[in-house]
């Protein structure tokens, strides 16, 4: 029990301390120490419970429910006040509706309802604990140095205590989501993460930030409403409020199908799937550590975590088909939209949406192999994407832009950062790295499940994925002469975090067989029974060796082949008119023309407006039809 309580409460205590402290000198060591403590605690928790499988805790304290309810009401009032201040009405109205449903539920239904086990931990939660504990803490460490620069650039009032307060509250809430067995508790933490995200997006208080913060709130409260309605329907019928009991019910009868469908909707909103993807794109105005922590590696993972949790109930039924279709369409269309983006954070955002889409699709398929692929995707994505976000953040502060077009010759200007980014990008789509392995697993399971839509979305989507990552990679590797090295002023804590994450990206590739063997497989065997023969045949040990050999090759080659003796160098070919600096040529009338190389965005085909529109129309259609069928009592 104790490590769990520590994970839930310790970040909260630190959050309050950080709110009170205004001095940089105290804040930095406090963050380092508490981050280390959280990392150690999460690793300890996993080691402690790993061999026990699922462990339930009946932690209960009567006033806690009331306290949670009170916090929700206070948050609702806050939203109303802020909505009044900024003249945004949609979010407060939705918040009122949600709180009204919550109040009604609390007053009429919840009385006498007690959960046997409020908290639990199983292998899936353990994976999430590791992701939140390790990556989340590292990001807060990174944020110390980053926010110092951010404040120097920004010039507005120093609100960093508030920033760190929200970040640590968020960590606590994330632990809450993945460790709660009581659905009401889970809902409470779910809402807390929504509000954390709201405050962090609006951090700079520019018009754009406020607009996007309210957009995020609006859409996520729709998800919240779906969540609370799901609980209400489920409790009214079954009189239990626990996740494990919900999973035991099986999908039979509207009283279970409807709550599951609503929970899936909540998960889809949280995971920023189409048609709700716009909030995640808007969230990119937040400071980069926020994007890394909330909008790529953890909060959006809460959405897919819920869906993966529900995966045994999905599969070849109507909700399962809906979830997998929404996920697959999102993967395809978000990947395509990423092609047309030149803002690095928006590329990362679309790529995040796309990869979450793939995980959602895997959850929808709901078989042993699919969930295996989904969980591995979740792990690899969390590590790689947070690395990418953080390196873009560092680049932004030192080259003054987050546009990929301005990353020309980053290889010369910020060699260490460029190397880190190259590893990060390669980790997103190239073979020996984890993302591709899990994509490969997803592909084979989609083929096994005989779903043509999923196969089509995955292969076309991944072709597009290679396109946009490779062209970014190309920008980074360009060797531009006469560049100044600008990375000397990067903070040490930023380097430390970036280096650790880079090592993690590579380490999980070597370690994934172990991860699969000791954490993922036990969970899956517990939930689905023994793995199918075909799965073992494809992902047998032989191929693991091939992949490891390739990975080793990729690490050895640069060391072996680079740093050779100098060869005679020549200028680049510009039809004989190169001015000798490789950056300009002599044009007509002897004028000097500067050469700028730009990437290819194919706006006319892959513009994000177009992709968003198509995606929204198609996914809304899928969701509406699904709910109509569920309410009509149709089952497959």
């Amino acid at each position: 029990m104790s490590p769990i309580a520590f994970l839930l409460l310790f970040p909260l205590v630190i959050a309050i301390l950080l709110l009170l402290i205004r001095s940089d000198r105290v804040r930095a060591p406090l963050v380092y120490v508490s981050a280390t403590a959280i990392i150690i605690a999460s690793v300890y928790t996993v080691c402690r419970y790993l061999n026990d499988g699922t462990t339930m805790f009946d932690f209960s304290w009567e006033p806690l429910g009331t306290l949670m309810f009170a916090v929700e009401v206070i948050l609702c009032i806050t939203v109303i006040c802020l909505g009044y201040k900024y003249k945004k009405w949609a979010a407060p109205v939705l918040a009122v509706i949600q709180t009204a449903i919550g109040t009604w539920f609390e007053l009429t239904q919840a009385g006498g309802l007690t959960a046997d086990h409020n908290l639990y931990i199983d292998e899936l939660s353990m994976i999430m604990v590791l992701i939140i504990g390790i990556i989340g803490s590292l990001i807060t460490v990174y944020a110390v140095g980053y926010m110092k620069d951010f404040q120097a650039h920004d010039k507005s009032k120093d609100r960093r205590p508030w920033f760190f307060f929200v970040m640590y509250v968020f960590l606590s809430a994330m632990f809450g989501i993945v460790l709660s067995n009581n659905l009401m508790w889970m809902f409470f933490f779910w809402e807390i993460t929504t509000f954390c995200s709201f405050f962090l997006i609006g951090y700079t208080r520019t018009d754009e930030a406020i607009h996007n913060a309210f957009l995020q709130l609006k859409l996520n409260i729709i998800g919240g409403i779906a969540f609370i309605v799901a609980i209400a329907v489920f409790v009214c019928d079954q009189h239990v409020v626990e996740m494990d009991k919900l999973l035991e019910c099986g999908l039979s009868g509207i009283d279970v199908v409807l709550p599951v469908a609503l929970l899936c909707l909540a998960g889809i909103v949280k995971a920023a799937q189409m048609p709700f993807q716009s909030w995640l794109l808007g969230a990119m105005v937040a400071p980069t550590p926020t994007s890394a922590l909330l909008h790529s590696s953890t909060m959006v993972k809460a959405g897919v975590f819920l869906l993966l949790k529900l995966a045994p109930l999905l599969g070849k039924d109507i909700v399962g088909y809906a979830v997998m279709t929404v996920g697959a369409l999102t993967f395809l269309l978000a990947s395509m939209a990423a092609v047309s983006q030149s803002n690095a954070k928006r590329v990362l955002a679309y790529s995040t949406i796309a990869n979450l889409g793939l995980i959602v699709a895997c959850a929808g398929v709901g078989t042993y192999e699919a969930v295996w692929a989904g969980i591995l995707l979740m792990i690899f994505h969390a590590i790689t994407k947070s690395l990418m976000f953080l390196s873009v953040g560092t680049a932004e502060h030192h080259i003054g832009s987050r546009n990929i077009e301005d990353m020309d010759g980053l290889f010369e200007r910020m060699p260490r950062l460029a190397a880190i980014m190259i590893i990060g990008i390669a980790g997103m789509f190239l073979i020996p790295f984890g993302m591709l392995i899990s994509k490969w697993a997803a592909l084979t399971t989609f083929v096994e499940s005989e779903n043509l839509v999923l196969i089509a979305c995955l292969i076309f989507g991944s072709a597009v994925t290679s396109f946009y990552w490779t062209k970014w990679l190309g920008k980074l590797v360009g060797v531009v002469a006469h560049c100044e090295n600008v990375e000397k002023t990067v903070h040490k804590d930023e380097w430390a975090v970036l280096d650790i994450l880079t090592v993690l990206v590579i380490a999980v590739c070597f370690g994934f067989p172990l991860l699969s063997e000791y954490i993922v497989s036990p969970y899956l065997i517990h939930v689905f029974g023994n793995p199918p023969e075909a799965f073992l045949a494809i992902f047998g040990t032989e191929y693991v060796w091939i992949l490891l050999a390739m990975l080793a090759l990729l690490i050895i080659l640069p060391i072996a082949l680079l740093n050779k003796s100098k060869k005679p160098q020549s200028s680049i070919y510009m039809a004989g008119l190169n001015n000798g600096d490789n950056q300009s040529y002599t044009g007509s009338m002897g004028a000097t023309v500067n050469v700028t190389l730009r990437n290819w965005y194919m706006e006319s085909w892959f513009s994000n407006d177009r992709m968003d529109k198509i995606g929204v129309v198609m996914t809304v259609l899928v969701i509406v039809v699904t709910f109509a069928l569920v309410l009509a009592g149709v089952t497959l």
Binding site: D408, G409, F411, L430, I431, L436, W440, L443, T444, V447, E450, L452, I455, A456, I459, F460, S462, A463, V464, S466, F467, T470, K471, L473, G474, K475, V477, G478, V479, V480, I538, E542, Y543, I546, L547, M550, L553, L557, P558, L561, L562, K564, K566, K567, P568, Q569, S570, S571, I572, Y573, M574, N582, V595, L597, N599, W600, W605
Partner: protein, 289 residues
């Protein structure tokens, strides 16, 4: 790992450059004959590469030959996995990795022509990859395994259930062989708009490595064509070899009878082929056959 895997890898490493080189020479000879010329000797590609090795190195930066060498190694790696009887999807992913390295080599030069070539190369990658993956999925559905060895020795000719995929594969083979009408990225035929595209800044040994890796790749791709015919009997293997050569001949004819098309056509047509021939064929394999 079995003895036949080792033999397959050894044969590939020894014979593929020779076969690729000869095929390339035959290509140039046939092309010349189609244009009523005498043409160069059949061994001309070999002479070219030997000459390139003799030339001085004149690189634009220190990393370009590293990337090209990586591309070369991973092309061979992909071929080795294939001829060792390994997993076809890994083969596709590995050759994608090799291609990405090639693109990076061109990007690293920071040269206008090379960069246009590099962008076109990844554009082509985007165009042909769906069809390539669908073909491999088709093999799995038709013969029950992703393993090249199982497909090679398993009974039943994959060609009939995979007829649509076969034609789709022939279509993207034109892009993979860098042939007209789809030779967007390298301008194999001299004096075109982007000079030598992707390879503009490659010279001497670097270019030689690029040429040799293209030989390996040619043999690998023709190996996939061969696989469509194999059913475990000697006759099927002979037939496969004949058809692999015929498909190469077909590409030469296509090369000589088309001008290069607009870049838009590449993606539109190859995705249309993948969507129509590929997906319908996969649907049939999934639900009917």
């Amino acid at each position: 790992m079995n003895w036949y895997s080792l033999i397959g890898v050894a044969l590939f490493l020894l014979l593929a450059p020779a076969i690729g080189c000869l095929l390339s020479g035959i290509d140039r000879k046939i092309t010349a004959r189609m244009q009523r010329r005498v043409g160069p000797p059949v061994l001309q590609p070999y002479y070219d590469v030997r000459k390139l090795i003799e030339k001085d190195q004149l690189a634009v930066n220190k990393v370009v030959d590293y990337y090209v060498l990586c591309s070369f190694l991973f092309t061979i790696f992909a071929g080795c996995i294939f001829f060792a009887g390994g997993d076809l999807l890994i083969v596709v992913f590995t050759s994608t990795l090799a291609d990405v390295f090639l693109v990076l080599a061109a990007y690293s030069c920071n040269s206008p022509y090379a960069q246009v070539g590099a962008q076109r190369e990844i554009y082509q990658l985007m165009a042909y990859e769906p069809m390539l993956l669908l073909t491999m999925i088709g093999f799995y559905l038709a013969k029950g395994s992703y393993q090249m060895w199982d497909i090679l020795t398993g009974s039943g000719v994959a060609l009939w259930p995979m007829l649509g995929l076969f034609f789709g594969f022939l279509f993207i083979l034109t892009i993979k062989f860098r042939k007209s009408p789809f030779d967007l990225s390298t301008s194999e035929h001299a004096h075109q708009d982007i000079v030598k595209g992707l390879t503009t800044e490659f010279s001497g040994k670097t270019l030689a490595v690029f040429e040799v890796s293209h030989w390996f790749e040619t043999v690998l791709l023709l190996g996939v064509v061969f696989l469509f015919f194999a059913n475990g009997t000697l006759w099927s293997y002979i037939l496969g070899l004949i058809f692999a050569f015929l498909s190469f001949f077909l590409e030469i004819i296509i090369d000589n009878s088309f001008a290069r098309m607009k870049w838009q056509v590449v993606l539109k047509s190859s995705w249309a082929v993948a969507a129509v021939l590929g997906l319908i064929n996969i649907a049939l394999l999934l639900w009917v056959l």
